[in-house]
């Protein structure tokens, strides 16, 4: 429920307006003087120009392959500058963007899947703030992780929402917690959009006046407390699926920086400290420990990717973090069947003293984790 702390330490380029297609009528035929011709095939991505002046950039795309493709302009850390999906075989499309000086990539994704076929694009003019390649690498890898988590969540969420729509309470209960794993692992990024979280992950006490309660926890209450799925609940299932699809499509555009990754990791622990150890998050299903584990996994991913930078600047801190992550994970392992299972003990069965141990372990990790951003920016 908290917006991720976004830093201005980022590539010196502004996000281009994706709606610019309609705003550039004079070049909308894709054959304007400055247009970059992109020929996309099933196994290639040919670009006519690789160096351009900063400012208004236009890509004229032709799909000469046999698969539906999509074309992206990407920052060095893989954040999307501009994109166009669903370019069918034999069709043309135009992508426009305002781009500042710097290094970019154009990616064609035949079949609309995977990393894509990449080409460099250099934009010159003006002054471009440089970020170190290792930081870009960390951010790009994290962006991939975030996208993978969203991609993996959608089919699991569909199992859940299909069961709800079909009125199958037992089947829905079974997949509920697992359908949330990917979301919980990457929550700070999802929350950075502001509008998705209140639709999919809000709890009853987080509702604003007049806000309709939708999403996972609304259905959690129906399944575990009300023990029935009426017409209203069934109708909320496709809404959840639609909202999650929106998230999946937008994660690639999230602004991610090394410091937002570091602070995002800390925020995931904050989520645990304020919502999970108290049992508030999953008050009906008591599946808090599954969210807990997912939050820790997401934080650990951020940390692992930043570790090459952080350990150079503050070796003692990364040694502490390695130790504390291991201690918390070991403690969590005592609450599940085995180390691969996401079947955790129901939180209502975790006593007061054990909850305090969990809380202490979270504090022990979150406190040094709060210094990770400083170690990365040093």
């Amino acid at each position: 429920m908290r917006a991720v702390r976004l830093s201005v330490v980022t590539a010196a380029a502004t996000v281009a307006a994706l709606t610019a297609v309609t705003g550039c009528a004079e070049k909308s035929d894709g054959k304007g003087d400055g247009a970059v011709q992109v020929v996309a095939k099933d196994d290639s991505c040919e670009v006519s120009k690789k160096k351009l002046p900063a400012g208004h950039v236009e890509l004229a795309v032709q799909n000469k392959g046999s698969k539906v493709t999509e074309v992206y302009v990407l920052f060095p850390d893989d954040r999307i500058v501009a994109e166009r999906e669903n370019i069918g075989p034999g069709t043309k499309a135009t992508i426009t963007a305002e781009i500042k000086a710097g290094s970019y990539e154009i990616a064609c994704k035949p079949g609309m899947k995977g990393h894509g076929i990449r080409q460099k694009l250099e934009i010159s003019g003006g002054s471009a703030a440089k970020r170190s390649p290792e930081m870009d690498k960390a951010v790009a890898a994290y962006r991939t992780y975030v996208q993978d988590q969203a991609d993996a969540t959608l089919p699991k969420a569909k199992l859940f929402t299909d069961a709800v729509a079909a009125g199958d309470i037992e089947a829905a209960k079974k997949v509920y917690a697992e359908s949330r794993l990917g979301w919980e692992r990457t929550e700070p990024v999802a929350e950075s959009f502001g509008d998705i979280d209140p639709k999919v992950d809000v709890r009853a006490d987080g509702l604003e006046d007049g806000q309709k309660w939708t999403g996972w926890h609304r259905l959690e209450k129906a399944l575990w407390q009300d023990k029935k799925l009426g017409a209203e609940e069934k109708a909320l299932a496709p809404t959840l699926q639609k909202d999650l699809l929106d998230w999946q499509k937008r994660v690639g555009t999230a602004e991610i920086t090394p410091t937002s990754m570091a602070n995002g990791a800390k925020e995931l622990l904050d989520e645990v400290a304020t919502g999970k150890v108290t049992g508030e998050e999953e008050r009906y299903s008591h599946t808090d420990l599954i969210d807990f584990k997912a939050n820790v996994e997401g934080a650990e991913k951020s940390y692992e990717l930043l570790k090459p930078i952080a350990s150079k600047n503050d070796a003692a801190l990364s040694a502490t973090l390695d130790k504390r992550f291991a201690e918390l994970n070991n403690l969590l392992d005592t609450y599940r069947k085995d180390k691969t299972s996401y079947e955790f003990t129901s939180y209502e069965k975790v006593g007061k003293a054990d909850r305090k141990d969990l809380s202490d372990a979270v504090n022990a990790l979150a406190e040094p984790l709060s210094r990770l951003a400083a170690a990365v920016t040093k």
Partner: protein, 434 residues
């Protein structure tokens, strides 16, 4: 004290730039610099903290504790906060040690000592509460900025559980006097408010200063220690300055009139400080602390007739004079009191001379869910040997005290309080761990 005197004191401690007054080495202002106390916050250079946390600097300059608000010296043969004139407020915290690594525990004690030196002198912890890296949380939590040192004292103690076999190799160093307290009749102890591997007693004239100190120590300790329980106290119930009137407890009575004076070195040596001949050598100059959370049944007490109240204590309510006497400090005639009177039973003459130094505080922690005040006395007693101090005294009281109808002991802890930190190279517990 004049600035000249302060500067001279600082130079004695090796300060190079006695003229640079208002900030320490990193430019983080001290609390006292913010107050404009010229010459106070001298930069003494960084001292390695011996751990992961950023180095803390020692900037302790001597200001007499005479005026409320000044700083109490941290260094000395005994820890401050025992014989020190009792301050108005308390934040007491008991910690569990969560690390299993002795070296980590030692590093923590060193970091705590450096932070305690700074906070008791009125300085912020580490690089301060602001002005540091924008991307990192500040070293100090900041709520004491602009406040005076407020006679803050921080006193550490080690609980019996710290000496348990297989933990830190301290089982042979557990003092005989650090007994497991026996069960007393009427006790209703809550495990979640009892015990602890470590304790820190923070006393100050400003509650915010005391809370700030515990909060920062707890934060520094995370991952190595965790708070087990803590208690706020607001009204001192005894004093170590016999010239002053004895403060009243929540029952409206003066109690502990015959407390040991902080300036009576003979009595302190006899009853409070562990001597060189006592067995655990590392405790020489230290003391033993018993902490008891004593809940008072306020509502039933308030319905008791005045005569009964006065009989229960053995004093009158107005002046606080013992039965049959005129003034609070008149020598009590014990036989004039009921055999169950509190003062009669607690008096050294009824206990073979057993004498303790009391530093208790009143507490009120809201209500208990039954509409009753959760209030009482947070009893703190220091003594040279608990077996000869608190234990026989409490045995007698628990068995006979008329007050028992109105009180219940609900929390209990016992700590060995090591001697004082001698100088800037010394640290809390060095004699125990070396």
């Amino acid at each position: 004290m004049s600035e000249d005197t302060q500067d001279a004191g600082a130079q004695d401690e090796g300060a190079q730039d006695a003229g640079a007054a208002h900030t320490d080495a990193t430019g983080a202002p001290s609390r006292r610099a913010l107050l404009g106390w010229g010459g106070a916050g001298l930069a003494l250079g960084a001292v390695a903290a011996g751990g992961a946390v950023a180095a803390v600097r020692s900037g302790d300059d001597q200001v007499p504790a005479a005026d409320s608000g000044a700083a109490v010296p941290f260094h000395g043969a005994h820890q401050a906060g025992i014989a020190t004139a009792v301050q108005d407020r308390l934040h007491f915290a008991a910690f569990d040690v969560t690390t299993k690594d002795r070296a980590e525990l030692v590093a923590l004690l060193k970091e705590w000592t450096r932070a305690a030196e700074r906070m008791t002198a009125g300085h912020a912890v580490g690089d301060g509460a602001y002005g540091g890296l924008a991307e990192a949380p500040p070293d100090d939590t900041g709520e004491a900025l602009g406040l005076q040192p407020s006679r803050l004292t921080l006193t550490i103690g080690f609980g019996p559980s710290l000496f348990a076999k297989g933990r830190f190799g301290l089982e042979d160093r557990r003092p005989d006097a650090l007994v497991d307290l026996p069960g007393f009749p009427g006790d209703n102890l809550d495990a979640a408010r009892s015990g602890g591997d470590l304790c820190v007693q923070a006393c100050a004239d400003d509650p915010q200063v005391a809370v700030h100190a515990i909060r920062n120590l707890a934060r520094i300790g995370m991952g190595r220690t965790a708070i087990r329980w803590s208690q706020l106290g607001f009204g001192k119930t005894s004093s170590t300055t016999p010239g002053a009137q004895t403060p009243r407890n929540m029952m409206g009575f003066k109690d502990g009139t015959r407390n040991i004076s902080g300036s009576d070195t003979a009595a302190l040596d006899e009853h409070v400080w562990v001597g060189g001949k006592d067995r655990a050598g590392w405790m020489t100059g230290g003391s033993y602390l018993v902490a008891r959370r004593i809940r008072m049944h306020i509502e039933t007490w308030d319905r008791a007739p005045l005569q009964e109240q006065e009989d229960v204590f053995g004093r009158d309510k107005g002046e606080g004079a013992p039965v049959g006497k005129a003034k609070e400090r008149d020598e009590p005639f014990l036989k004039a009191m009921l055999p169950t009177a509190h003062v009669r039973l607690a008096h050294p003459d009824s206990n073979a001379g057993a004498t303790i130094l009391r530093r208790g505080y009143s507490f009120t922690d809201g209500t208990d869910g039954l509409g009753r005040l959760d209030a009482g006395l947070f009893f703190l007693a220091y003594q040279r040997d608990t077996r000869k101090g608190f234990v026989p005294l409490q045995r007698r009281l628990a068995a006979h005290d008329a007050l028992n109808e109105y009180i219940q002991h609900v929390g209990s802890a016992h700590f060995a309080v090591p001697p004082g930190v001698r100088d800037k190279d010394d640290w809390w517990g060095r004699a125990l761990f070396s």
